[in-house]
Symmetry: C2
Subunit: 490 residues, 2 copies
């Protein structure tokens, strides 16, 4: 069995790593900063992917695939973009291995590339180079494309799922004839992300806009969703960028409009990544391990049969199989663990660790009484209930878990949001309570930077539902029109 | 509209590229040898992926994900493996970009990596390093894992889908306690590939074993499926390797067996790639463009409404919508093209080019007579049929197309297989007819190499159903126990 999970109270960071490792979601790899995603983690990401992909298709997008290698010269075309990514690029410089005098493998000096390639940190550059060939007329617009891919951003302080040198993600890249349409698209996709986070991950999010200094390199405007983790730190869970005409200008992507005039194309890009898996873990899990929302759990129910001899085994397994079939027929994802090598007690702990939402246990007495024990992972409630109507009961319980996880997380997020008017209180709340702090800000990058330097808190976003409110910046005393959301963040 | 497709008779290579480009499957990218997979091509690959993934799961496999970067030293561990891949590796040597005196972007010399990384050409090395940590006892076995990923093998003569520097694939990597179990697994997965090729792609394949010189670098035995293209050249469509204990020994992966003895683990790996898309194109398509087997077509049916004024438009579209709904309710993937910007004739040609298996056309007269025109892509047959019972009729036609594509391809494969006993005839058949040639071989690498040097034909495989037959090698006159399959290949 896996090692014990460090309690959250004791060490939240260690607790997170313990849950990720013991629930067999992922582990570190020999390639520095890259992770190995294990089957339990991969199943979670694949379920997220499937749900998101359905939502992208429902909003008119198609998938395609661009190369992993970006020619070095492309990176230079958009000034802010290269500035943003230059320090975290994996650069391919050679195409053959050979051995040196000592017999060690080295890049063959004769295979040095004429032009280096960057392993994509994101694909705007290579995509806009191509879009400039695909787009001639307004009739070619919009292009609504997405790709599921791996990307690499060299990472100095890697952390499983949350910050890894390589991660899996999707990146949408759309091209539009007008500014308005592009902004609408960027907002629509932010909404898709927020809906996914709330309805599938049961993770409430704040929809907002980044400040200029936190924008994606090359974007005119970056929208984001921000979630609050159990330890009071925020997690940026998804971003959607209105890119204006920056990339169209850098790659000379123009179109002829209906009036036969040549214009530059308007762009968006948007992405979420395997980081969401980390956010899911930190939103719901507890000291016993992972807690999964039913909509994303590979197995929503596990059935553990209990018996002490071969006669009982036969009777109990027969009932267990029947119940499994009944649940499967009702569209529930169910697993029966009939492995004789492990004791029921071990299995209970293991599935608790893995976060399976509902556990059914059935023993000889349950068979006789036509009962089954039902336990829910989130509240740890246990009850003996009739086998009759078990599928309906489980369905209701799964729905209830999904809702309840969301409501618990929402209540925490609200409890962890504090409105503050002066800088001393700000620092105090930040240190003692953490969470989101709603405070006035004078709108300057200088003040933003000063607060970050002094407290490590950053402006997570300017909430989309920000109310107009006259106020003064808590640091400079300069006027402000509304409150922004500060927090320490992952 | 797209340019015309070069007829196969005129230039088969150009025909292939024309179909791939005009059906918007893929195109070349600015990253040398890498391709851009367009939405039509991606939908095809995603459908293949989904079908294969279901078959992998049904045979007990789970997905996981290993890093794209392989530490240089890992490559050196298995001697044949590094020998096989050293000449086609993308090597990452730096982690930051900077600008030189001229303002050009260059790898920052200070960011030179302590150890270089290889962009995975395949993942045996990094996976077996990890398996050695995951496996201790026979109770941990078997491990039945697969990953969907991109890989890079530098490619001097790239060709869309068939040979690209980066390609998408899946790689299964399994670990077993016994040799027999590992061989059984390698054979099972070959069978999964063959079943997929024949049942989904409608592409008949020969199941066989590679000769020693054609084996995967590091394998004890390589199984393969080989398909025959329309131009008489063979395509290796999938491989499954019995790796023996080679990688377990290289990465010191041992387990304690039931008798408490320490043994090295037995391994398999198996993969298919986006190359299958190229095989699909070359198996069924014709001078009008792509021909898709219904099971893999994103859209199985397209409905083209025909009208000449607004009144007709309303009536015709209403009927078309109703038929679309009827087909969708019957589980048929159907698209209605109601775009007013294009004429029906243009649409007919476009969907023919894109290979949609069945086309329905409906005009004012059809509405009045309660008819619809049905056309099948493979035979180009057209008929006016009653709207009544259209879903059943379409279903039957789709099944029929799927079967008929397979049978046509099988008949061609058989017709293109020649049994030959002497080297002169061999050369003659190879030049004039092409296809598979069944001939005796003395079992030596020298003879194999000589034949390849002199004719460009290689031994595609030793068929699994090879009959025992006394004979003599057509080149050396040395004895042979059975015929092997020669061909020129992609
Ligand atoms: Zn321009
Ligand atoms: Zn060893």
């Amino acid at each position: 069995m896996a090692d014990a999970v460090t309690p959250r109270e004791e060490d939240y960071s260690q607790w997170y790593l313990d849950v990720v490792r013991n629930a067999k979601l992922a582990e570190n790899s020999p390639a520095r900063g890259c992770m190995i995603i294990r089957p339990n983690g991969m199943a979670l990401w694949e379920n997220m992917r499937e749900a998101l992909d359905g939502m992208f298709k429902a909003t008119g997008h198609e998938n395609l695939y661009f190369p992993i290698f970006i020619p070095e010269r492309f990176m230079a075309r958009e000034a802010k973009h290269v500035e943003g990514f230059a320090k975290e690029c994996a650069i391919v410089t050679h195409s053959r291995l050979t051995t040196n005098e000592d017999g060690d493998l080295i890049p063959d000096p004769e295979s040095k590339l004429g032009e280096n390639y960057i392993v994509r940190p994101t694909s705007e550059t290579i995509i806009w180079d191509t879009y400039s060939k695909w787009i001639q007329s307004y009739r070619d617009l919009p292009l609504l494309y997405n790709q599921w891919a791996n990307v690499v951003r060299w990472e100095m302080r890697p952390r499983l799922f949350l910050r890894t040198a390589e991660f899996l993600w999707q990146e949408g890249h759309t091209a539009h004839a007008t500014k308005e349409e592009a902004i609408e698209e960027a907002e629509r996709m932010l909404d898709v992300y927020a809906t996914f986070a709330e309805e599938y991950m049961a993770m409430p999010v704040i929809r907002g806009r980044k400040t200029e200094s936190e924008r994606f390199p090359g974007a005119v405007d970056t929208y984001c969703i921000e979630a609050m983790m159990q330890d009071g730190k925020a997690l940026q869970a998804g971003t959607s960028h209105f890119l204006g005409q920056n990339f169209a200008k850098a790659f000379d992507c123009t179109f002829t409009n209906e009036d036969n005039e040549v214009e530059h194309v308007w762009a968006t890009s948007w992405g979420v990544s395997t980081r969401l898996v980390g956010g899911l873990v930190m939103t719901h899990s507890d000291d016993q391990g992972l807690v999964l929302p039913p909509k994303l759990a590979r197995d929503q129910v596990v059935i553990v049969p209990i018996y002490f001899n071969d006669d009982q085994r036969a009777t109990v397994l027969k009932e267990a199989e029947r119940i499994k079939q009944e649940l499967a027929d009702a569209g529930i994802r169910v697993k029966l663990d009939a492995d004789d090598n492990q004791k029921p007690g071990w299995k209970f702990a293991e599935y608790e660790l893995q976060g399976i939402p509902v556990r059914l246990a059935i023993g000889p007495r349950d068979v006789k009484n036509e009962n089954v024990e039902i336990a829910r992972r989130d509240t740890k409630e246990k009850n003996i209930v009739p086998q009759e109507g078990i599928a309906d009961r489980v369905k209701t319980m799964l729905d209830d878990i999904q809702t309840s996880l969301y409501e618990t997380a929402l209540a925490r997020q609200e409890e962890m949001t504090t409105t503050v008017d002066d800088y001393d209180t700000f620092k105090e709340v930040l240190e003692e309570k953490g969470g989101f702090i709603r405070a006035h800000w004078d709108g300057t990058a200088e003040t933003e930077q000063r607060i970050q330097d002094e407290t490590k808190a950053t402006i997570r976003c300017i909430p989309l539902d920000q109310e107009e409110e006259e106020g003064v910046d808590m640091v400079t005393g300069k006027p402000s029109k509304g409150r922004v959301l500060f927090a320490k963040a992952y």
